[in-house]
Symmetry: C2
């Protein structure tokens, strides 16, 4: 997605050799019109794929998932929780997930009642680094006996291996911007 790459280069900030700050338009301040375009682009990428539900993880994935859902017939969005609130007291699926940016290990949680056997679930997230969050989400989909329809990522840092690992597991991964390499504050895209 050329417009996304352009914004990453002009508004994003490369931090060290492996982090990209896009908090001006994606994950702190949200450009809601651009987010709508991102949602539409995911629908284009996954055209012809049956999607019954979108699954993401709080917090940055929510805006993307909700914006995309509109273009998948207003399908429901479920977001996995990083901490179990005291209003969640029924059966849950859980999977361990290391946060790359926060360096914390979370047990991400989805209530069992919100995933159904046999449904087609599209996983959406903002970043793909080592693939921890997507792997955890995919394992939860499979625990439920549902099917991973695909994985849609806004920005993949391909050099950290997450994309390849997920593809090796048999998942279709669509990334709107794929970063092949970062050094000295420079970002080189894969294509």
């Amino acid at each position: 997605m050329d417009k996304l790459k352009h914004r990453i280069l002009t508004e994003g900030v490369a931090l060290g050799s492996d982090r990209i700050n896009v908090d001006g338009f994606i994950n702190h301040r949200i450009d809601t019109s651009f987010m709508d375009e991102i949602g539409e682009e995911f629908a284009r990428r996954f055209a012809g794929v049956k999607v019954d539900k979108i699954l993401t993880v709080e917090a940055s994935g929510i805006a993307i998932a909700v914006s995309a859902a509109r273009y998948f017939g207003f399908c429901p969005v479920v977001f996995a929780k990083k901490a179990k609130p005291n209003t969640m007291n029924e059966g849950v699926y859980q999977a361990p997930c290391m946060s790359f940016t926060k360096q914390t290990l979370n047990e991400i949680t989805v209530a069992k009642k919100h995933l159904s056997e046999g449904e087609n679930v599209l996983i959406i997230d903002d970043f793909l680094a080592h693939g921890e969050a997507s792997k955890a989400l995919a394992s939860i989909v499979e625990m439920a006996g549902a099917h991973v329809a695909g994985i849609g990522i806004v920005i993949s840092k391909d050099f950290q291996g997450g994309k390849k690992a997920l593809e090796d597991m048999g998942y279709r991964v669509e990334t709107l911007a794929s970063v092949a390499e970062m050094n000295d504050g420079n970002i080189r895209f894969a294509d």
Copy 2:
């Protein structure tokens, strides 16, 4: 908003005397079409009010804020963070905020660069209990020299005092469903 009240009564679960679980359509599984209607309703409530930006707090507020933003001319959404990620290393505004459902004290954080002096900021959130989150968000808006255009809440538990406290502070508060009383699993709306 009658449709919201109906869904709270039919799909929500009253927990004890003061908690309502609406995780089937608002804050775990999101009914994205209904969320869009909620967003439109906020625009109706705040018609004629100048809104330059919407401010919420992660995670449940994000879907609501992004859905509403479309009806406020796709204005930007900023969501306050409950934990400071390692990609956030510039000046920040912070305010303490007790989470009612999680019983944890967070310091909510907004990067200074994402709020500007003089702009009109609409605060949006899913629940209003004691008003802790809205007060923290309002104090951050004021630290930035910006103006609180109003506070829009999906479900207010009026009996916990948050709505009155915010109105006493001079803020305009619009709540789509106001719960006057809860007991024995029964919910009574204020109007």
